[in-house]
């Protein structure tokens, strides 16, 4: 049931942003990831697919060392993540938009957008506060509000906006459209396309396959902590049974 496409030979020379080899992760005794492999090149958009509980969030947390893998290798920009702390990995240019958004109660929208703001590793700051507020006008209107009192969609925008203020080379979006009204979802997808167009790579976990097929360059499909498909949208469309069996999409 495996259908792994080899990366294009021309891409092999580029240092991947993220490279994961044979990742095994446990929560205590429970073995959740069984040898995950994935590669993300600069500027690339990757979707991480799979039903509930298949290990998508755990994969992201293992990459960021929040849940350090027991076996396997993760490297970010060619540097092994072993023995390093999440904040050090994030500092290599990763904007993390976690499941549940990670908005801090009691902290205003403006404070969220300045607390972690920093230039990228090359000393550039394309995502100024002004640009983030231009991208999310709703946040500008609520600039002094407590972040946790915003609507779900606004909180999601705040979480993405906050990640952008760190001027990342890669943004990780875990269920960024979960629980939002369709119109707000469309707004988030529009922003995801803008982020992609600006050259930032992304790893996206989302339930909305249609949008992912359109936006993502490549897909990795997880079943019970194993990769059962890795390839581009065309490959995934050509194998509809894959989506049907593993995602319940007809």
């Amino acid at each position: 049931m495996t259908a792994i496409q080899q990366p294009h030979p021309a891409q092999a020379a580029v240092t991947p942003l993220v490279e994961v080899r044979g990742l095994h992760t446990y929560y205590g005794e429970s073995h959740v990831l069984h040898g995950i492999d994935l590669t993300l090149l600069p500027g690339e958009t990757l979707s991480l697919l799979g039903r509930n509980g298949m290990g998508k969030t755990t994969t992201l947390k293992s990459i960021l060392a929040f849940v350090p893998p027991r076996r396997g290798e993760v490297s970010i920009k060619g540097q092994s993540t072993a023995k390093r702390r999440p904040w050090q990995l994030v500092r290599q240019g990763i904007g993390y938009v976690p499941e549940g958004r990670g908005i801090f109660p009691g902290i205003s929208v403006r404070e969220h957008l300045i607390m972690a703001a920093r230039p990228n590793e090359r000393g550039q700051s394309p995502w100024t506060l002004e640009r983030v507020l231009d991208t999310f006008p709703r946040l500008g209107q609520r600039i002094h509000h407590d972040g946790s009192l915003l609507s779900g969609g606004e909180q999601q925008m705040l979480s993405i906006g906050r990640a952008l203020t760190t001027n990342p080379d890669l943004i990780i979006l875990d269920e960024a459209t979960e629980g939002l009204a369709p119109l707000i979802r469309d707004e988030i997808w529009k922003i995801i396309r803008e982020i992609k167009a600006s050259g930032i790579a992304s790893i996206i976990v989302d339930k909305n396959i249609d949008n992912l097929l359109e936006v993502a360059d490549r897909h990795v499909l997880l079943v019970k902590g194993e990769v059962v498909f890795s390839g581009d949208s065309r490959g995934l469309r050509e194998d509809p049974s894959m989506l049907e069996t593993h995602l319940g999409v007809a």
Binding site: F66, R85, P86, W87, P98, G102, F104, I114, M115
Partner: protein, 286 residues
Amino acid sequence: MDLAFFSVQLLNGLQYGLLLFLIASGLTLIFGIMGIINLAHGAMYMIGAYLVYDLTFRLGSFWLAILAAIPVAIALGLIIERLFLDTLYKRDHLYQVLLTFGLILVLNEAQRIIWGGDVHSVPVPELFSGRIQLTDNLQYSHYRLFVMGVCLALAGVIYWVIRHTRLGIIIRAGAVNRDMVEGLGINVRTLFTLIFSVGVALTAFAGMIAAPLTSIAPGMGDSILITCFVVVVIGGIGSIKGAFWGAILIGMAETFGSVLIPSLASMVIYLIMAAVLLVKPRGLFA
């Protein structure tokens, strides 16, 4: 009770409350952000008082003693955090409680070895030895007013840092969700070291400026620790504002309790804590 007496008690309660705030602010931040229940916090208050007692006689000046004692207190905080706590963050609370309880024993024993079991005192510094005539029949000690002023100024600085600086945003965010703060690329370990040593230094400093007002005795940190835990719980864990108002409330309650209802005095603060928790289970400002 006449008005003059009442006013003096009011000032005493305020002064005691402000001192409690210095101790409780460190306790609440260490607890709220680092998740560490620092039982040794009270012992650091004691160490502060003994350091000033010792150095005042060695250096011949209360002020020089304070100047010399502050770096010692900060260094002690750094050593405890780096050497002992660092290995325990990933462990269960029980390990931290055991470790910091062990630290109380070690610090108390060190105090006994260095300074002995006698009760000591430090004279009120010359500069503030006078009394101010507030009304015809009401005087108040300059030194107590000075202590209030210093505590208020420090409270103002702490408030400003927490409310208006990036460090303050990070501290407040860390009290809610440490992992998310780390997920934004912020070095939480350095933040912990900073908070622990500043928290411990504030407590020791409270002991230093309280030295001329109290008897310096073995175990003096133990009872203040309990009082400060009551303050933290009343104010809400991790909340500086809560620590401030909780400290003022408890400072007043202990002061008035001991003059108005001496038989119940030792219970008053717990009754207040119970009452607050009934109405607001997570504290006033959580």
